[in-house]
């Protein structure tokens, strides 16, 4: 800082460093940093999957997966989340082309499919709870609601983030900062789809056939 003050005000060194990143703000350290955050998120899900794996036969005389899970509903939900991933990807392609209206359209579509996913999940949860299959009923159900609920909470925060980005893009357009934010949101959204593969496979499909 003292060095910068000694120099002429027209060429402060820290502005030079900042400028280097403005040329390609969709790259830089943010992407790697956010990726490492997502990997730590994956570790949270690993602990929840491990907990579910340990407790998934501890029914305590309560309902079993075969009695509770409705696979057509899960298949529908999986389709919603998968489609929301491809609509987001198309949004990223529109962003690369600099087409703001299309980016906003794809973001709205992604939001709607994500909202459909959450709605179906909440319907499923409320249905289970109404039948007495609450998180308190057995260790299996505690682990189920913790794992699937944490994923659902992530999707909910993703929806809030999409809404925020729609406002940001609407106000400021596809400025480099918004492009960087949209790329981080994309990684977050696609990773939730990856976690859901684990959920529909190990919780629902293997739960029904065991």
């Amino acid at each position: 800082m003292s060095v910068a003050l000694d120099e002429k005000a027209s060429t402060p060194t820290f502005y030079v460093i900042e400028d280097e990143h403005h040329d390609h703000s969709d790259e830089g350290p943010t992407m790697l940093g956010f990726w490492i955050y997502l990997m730590s998120d994956a570790l949270i899900f690993a602990t929840l999957f491990a907990t579910y794996g340990v407790l998934f036969t501890a029914y305590a005389g309560g309902p079993t997966p075969r009695e509770l899970f409705e696979l057509p509903l899960v298949a529908l939900n999986t389709a919603f989340l998968l489609i929301s991933s491809i609509t987001y990807g198309m949004g990223m392609m529109a962003m690369r082309d600099g087409d703001q209206a299309k980016v906003q359209m794809w973001l709205v579509l992604t939001f709607l499919f994500g909202l459909a996913f959450i709605s179906v999940e909440l319907y499923e949860f409320s249905h289970m709870i109404a039948e007495g299959a609450t998180p308190q009923r057995s260790a299996f159900l505690s682990a189920f609601f913790t794992l699937v609920g944490t994923h659902g909470l992530h999707v909910t925060f993703g929806l809030i983030w999409i809404a925020v980005m729609l406002a940001q893009v609407g106000m400021h357009g596809l400025i480099p900062d918004n492009q960087r934010r949209l790329m981080c949101l994309g990684m977050f959204w696609h990773l939730l789809d990856v976690v859901w593969i684990g959920v529909f496979t190990f919780v629902y499909l293997l739960g029904v056939i065991q």
Partner: protein, 128 residues
């Protein structure tokens, strides 16, 4: 510091459109593969064409393949993005995830087996 940054920038510029973006073709390939890799396990379980054990093995295998498909075509993780550091972070995390999940299951299964023997006849119980 400057030299390192310049080298880094040159490397990024060389594959700028490849890293972090992918292409429409990548997304469509990834989507179509995912649809197939999702439809097959749901069909296997819902139709019940195979018995439980082979179904479980196939469903698990298809899930692993689909995770790889998503990682390559949607998350664009390859040896070039971020100079390979995203791939290194992913491999590191995958190893930890495997240790956490398989380690927990292994330990708890054996603990459960030792603490609560299944269907132990009352007469076989050790005297108090």
């Amino acid at each position: 510091m400057t030299v390192r940054n310049n080298t880094h920038d040159a490397g990024l510029a060389a594959h700028k459109h490849k890293s972090g973006h992918g292409s429409r073709r990548d997304y469509m390939i990834g989507f179509l593969l995912s649809v197939v890799l999702t439809a097959i396990p749901f069909w296997l379980v819902m139709s019940g064409v195979l018995s439980a054990a082979p179904t479980a093995v196939l469903v698990t295998l298809l899930a692993v393949i689909q995770v790889l498909v998503h990682t390559v075509y949607f998350l664009h993780v390859d040896t070039r993005s971020e100079s390979g550091w995203t791939l290194v972070a992913l491999i590191f995390t995958a190893i930890i995830v495997l240790i956490v999940i398989s380690g927990s299951l292994w330990i708890m299964y054996h603990l459960h087996g030792n603490m609560m023997p299944p269907a132990l006849p009352p007469t076989a119980a050790p005297p108090m």
